[in-house]
Point group: none
Chain length 195, copies 4
DNA sequence: GGATAAGCGAGACGGTACGTCCCGTCTTCCT
DNA sequence: AGGAAGACGGGACGTACCGTCTCGCTTATCC
């Protein structure tokens, strides 16, 4: 049984949660004005009023800190609403995704993942697959209800749906708003809908 | 009389094309083992046997150098083959794209574009739009020939097709080979084909 | 209550005296083989096993470092010995001076002072005047004892005595040994001695 | 026999005297605002409208150029005036010397000579000794005429006289005007005059 | 008078050092 | 033991000059 009042009985001064959150907040706020490649640990320390050593005590490098910051502000959970249509469900999940990707934090995360592919695995199970599995279940259910064509390659379909969003946000750098989301989902549904 | 059209007059010692290509080759070869974020101008100088000053004489920073290196080795032209089917044409263009994206140079380029979105415009017209416009013409022609559904939102469709590829290559970090390309194109065609 | 008189409070890691002395020693030893104009901070860093940043943390440029090194090894104090004759006292102080000037450190110092006259003031009170004032007291005392002519312009006399030494050491680049010192002091005394 | 009119019959375009003097003028004018240690060949080239290569064709380094510039503007000749007194003659020669030393060019020259003693020989015979020999003749003549003490060590005496001036100009950085010159010569004469 | 040769301005080149910034680690004192 | 302050060794930055070189052009002598 775990006793949270007395804490994990360790000698010495306990770590400061305040410091941890200050660091993460500083990271996030600095990314508003500075691209991740120009973000420095020293700037974060100064901004958060924390010593560099404290940052390094919690995270080994700025990528790890970025990941922590990302997970700190990101809701990974995907709750599909059975009452809603498939399209409406997608509107919800894609909308959430776009919000994340449009934040500097999201951009920075993706940057690191592409630059250092070995880090992708850290997010595969906790982030990408979560959304993907849920989406796939949605489509599978749609097939069972005969509203989605039965011979659709669901993996490729989902690559296309999500891929379109990433592409627009990052490489075409156009505003991705509800209009775009609606349109891409409509196009997507048109291709997979069973008449 | 001064003729500004070509010629350039060229006073002083002309720049060394050998140095330029050595720099670009060094950049490319270093990216094989080093992620772009760890690539240094100093390493490029040493590897290419060129002085740092010469690199900075021609490119203001490593991003600009990366772009030059990318364009140096990348064929942007897209030549669609009327004799081939739409799917086969896409196989060709997507295959070319995947080769580019799978190279470290491609990864690095995309990394920079996401980290510093203001640089995207430099590639919009010379790279992304070239491929996109050609692809769109292909689909438009397909509609004229009644092999593509007339009410397809072609822009969204292309976002999905290209997006799927980017997503797989960069974020799912899975091998994207001809099998995958065939499958995604098949799924894509299934959604837009006119029966 | 804050006591600004001494103490300094000293927060953070204290500076390394070992680094400081290593830097100064490296400076001195390099000047044995390299003229000051060819001395580089980078060579000092390498020789002393210290990072460049540490050098710049404590001195803004190599001139300032040179001055610190000079003062580090130079005894400025002048202790005249009442038991000795005026000439013997001068022999002592001039001998000390010649030792200093003959060292590369001394040469370098003088070089800088001539090249950048605005720096002279830094040494006026702590070095030149110390020796000069003591010497002047000696002569004044000699006048009181009627062994020095009363109408001597002591300042000009001292300019001549010290000037002769500087001139020989630096511009005539001849060995200035005890023979020379004895001779110049003899000539000097001959001019001012009261018969 | 050497014919200076037709010159050393060389093939090719002759050297440009205009360039040479422009370089020397630029050197002199730059030294008004820049200490010699900060003087650069590039700045001289720009200022004089000459290419760097031309400067290096004439002088191997900036020290050599400095020497040329110094000799270009300096009259080395010392003409003692038999009609004048010894003191007046000294007033003349010391006055000339002070003018030279007070110019940036003079300072720069001395700086180099101290920093790189091996260069002193280049000026020993052409500059220092010229003045010194003439001064010595003056004193020797004075001894013959019994106005200078016969047992004076003339070399040391001259070291003191000239040394005083160098010391004042360079290390005490005080204005050395005719008042000072008069005073130091008076003091000097007082020491060597035969009563 | 055409060939040959050197001088010249412009400016690129390989190289070295600059002074700065940030890294990740450390040492001190304070909590 | 955690933490703020800040020094430390290290390494890359982007810049400034070094002294040399390669251009196209000019200015002389030589044959």
């Amino acid at each position: 049984m775990h006793n949270p009042s007395k804490q994990d009985k360790s000698v010495g001064r306990p770590r400061s949660e305040a410091a941890k959150t200050a660091i993460i907040q500083a990271t996030i706020s600095l990314l508003d004005t500075v691209p991740f490649s120009n973000l420095t640990i020293e700037a974060i320390a100064k901004q958060s009023g924390v010593s560099k050593a404290t940052i390094y005590r919690w995270w080994p490098n700025k990528e790890a800190l970025l990941f922590a910051a990302f997970l700190h502000v990101t809701t990974v959970d995907v709750n599909f609403e059975p009452a809603l249509s498939i399209a409406d469900n997608f509107r919800q999940v894609i909308g959430d995704l776009v919000v994340i990707l449009n934040q500097p934090l999201g951009r920075a995360l993706i940057t690191v993942l592409i630059d250092q592919p070995e880090r992708v695995t850290a997010f595969q199970t906790t982030f990408f697959e979560v959304k993907r599995r849920a989406a796939k279940q949605l489509l599978t259910a749609g097939q069972a209800q005969h509203v989605i064509k039965p011979d659709i390659d669901l993996d490729k379909a989902l690559d296309m749906l999500f891929g379109a969003v990433y592409l627009r946000v990052f490489l075409y750098t156009e505003v991705v708003d509800t209009d775009y989301i609606d349109a891409v989902i409509a196009a997507f549904m048109q291709g997979i809908r069973q008449d």
